[in-house]
Subunit: 186 residues, 4 copies
DNA sequence: CATGAATGAGGCTTCATTCAT
DNA sequence: AATGAATGAAGCCTCATTCAT
């Protein structure tokens, strides 16, 4: 069952949802197609399982980071950017998956995932609004700043290669710096 | 022929490459499948045609904007951000298409498109490096700043709705502002 | 296309709807499965086409018989019984098909066929009620008499063998006699 | 075990043999599939068990009715029609099942059931022939009369609804009347 | 007695593509 | 320049059945 999940994650990440056949996944997992259908209702449920696990992992990462940070907006922003950057690096493949394949979820599953995404949006927005209210962030457009920070972090999965020259810690430092710049942190 | 191109663009944008059948496209265009195959070699060529047209349109937009701008890094950055934002708004659907569906291009087509994308990257990088060299942009990480600006502009297609409250001009103003902040423009 | 229709009719009649695979039908018709799907939307539409054609044939037969008969209840009853008996003999296989496989039609098709069946019911009921009103038929239970006559005629398809001793004309004579007995025709 | 039998009966009656999956039956019975296979050899044996039980029940009903009736052809006919009508009403669903699903029995089971059906046929034929020989039934076509009576009774399962206006006793009275009419009982 | 897990065959349907006309 | 018809491969999924535990 874990093998099936992993196989689905890899196949979807490499080829995309529609380009992946259930046979592909079964073959990768080393099980028969019927065995796969014993554990999962169908291709849709597989996609959902993969996306959800990935999202939940992101949330756990964020919560840990926030819990460990001092209780002020700048520190919270740093924590969230750090967690996001690390997550994008650690789970590069699924990371892109999530952003791209949500649209292939049937409404019944989509709703469940969208709710989680909203939660994430509110998490970011909460922190930035707090900072603005406290006079720590001086940005004139908090919403666009938020979207810029998130987009910037998400994009890491597109170009970062772990075998490259930049270490993750160095990367975190840079993106924390850029994020503070974007919100105009004093 | 133009109808086929348009039909393909819409179908790919709405459903994605693999979820779109050639039948879909023919039906949308109001032609028979055999007629479609008379004009295009197959599904791959359709995708390529759609993606290329979209990219070339972007380039033309950028070149016009750069040509009309004063010859200094900050003005060039403003021009490029403005052109990109306007493009993402004007062609919201294909915009996402481009970013997502490149991966479904067979190597023979992919190479052609990747070359254009590299050109775009060099265009952005050239401007930012000029600014840094000239001491106008103070960012410590020009590459990451560039990626952040591009990612931020690309993301517009995900959330912007023309029927919303923000006008395009207002949007351009904000993103020009954010871009200057990101590169630490003096 | 006619070959496909015929193949479907035979396969459904021999094996029943659910026991017949689309492959069966294609093989019988001598075409590929994809060719079959070019002409018919699916297995359901095939079943519907077969059932409808059979029902319409029955109606045509009945209308001809009624049109050729003198305009009085007894003659009408004779005509309808004769037409029905001949139909059950002539199209023995589909005949049973109709009665059994209607239940496998999806609602969208089912409604269409049920409407025709209602028409048939009204045709029989009209004649018998006329006879009762005119005092020609003395049965105390016109509805049950009608059902008995129809059931009796339908059952012919279960046991009649064309190679047997009884000719169709003889069969018609007997069932006309039995029908008159059932409605207590004076 | 009784639960499995009942579940199979209901499923087969509602959906037909081929449209019913063994999973369906197990689910309805509230047991695992493996448990089902412990008690029954397979789907075929389930169908056979259901059909046989239903037929045997019919025979018992008939024998009781005949045993309780005076020993003359007309009374025997009345008894048999009464028993059959009551049976069709009491076990409406399985009743249709029997008539339709016999054809899905594999030869080994089919023979066993056909033998019972022949017994039933001889039972009816015996009574009617007795009546004809005794001069009580004046029908010119005893075989067709027999088939008509049986078909008429069988058809009850198609239209009778227990919540309707007609009581079973009233129904029996009518069909006894119609049966006597059909055989031309003096 | 009963179970969870697995299997291989087969179910219906759609695909991108071709070809004679 | 366009068509209706056809094709073989592949799509997702469910089937009746078995077996180790």
């Amino acid at each position: 069952m874990a093998a099936i999940h992993a196989a689905a994650r890899e196949a979807f990440a490499e080829q995309g949802y529609h380009a992946t056949s259930v046979r592909d996944i079964a073959r990768r997992a080393g099980v028969s197609m019927a065995a796969l259908y014993y554990h999962y209702e169908g291709k849709q449920e597989l996609l959902f399982a993969v996306l959800r696990e990935s999202v939940e992992d992101y949330f756990v990462t964020c919560e840990h980071a926030l819990a460990a940070a001092p209780d002020d907006p700048a520190a919270h922003l740093d924590a969230l950017v750090g967690a996001t950057v690390r997550y994008r690096v650690r789970r590069r493949a699924e990371s892109t998956l999530n952003l791209i394949e949500v649209r292939n979820l049937e409404p019944r599953y989509r709703k469940l995932l969208d709710a989680r995404v909203d939660t994430a949006t509110r998490m970011w927005a909460g922190i930035i609004d707090d900072g603005v209210r406290a006079g720590v962030f001086a940005t004139a457009w908090p919403d666009d700043a938020r979207r810029a920070v998130i987009a910037m972090c998400n994009a890491i999965a597109d170009w970062y290669r772990p075998e490259g020259a930049v270490t993750v810690d160095e990367l975190v430092e840079r993106y924390v710096g850029l994020a503070r710049t974007i919100v105009a942190c004093s």
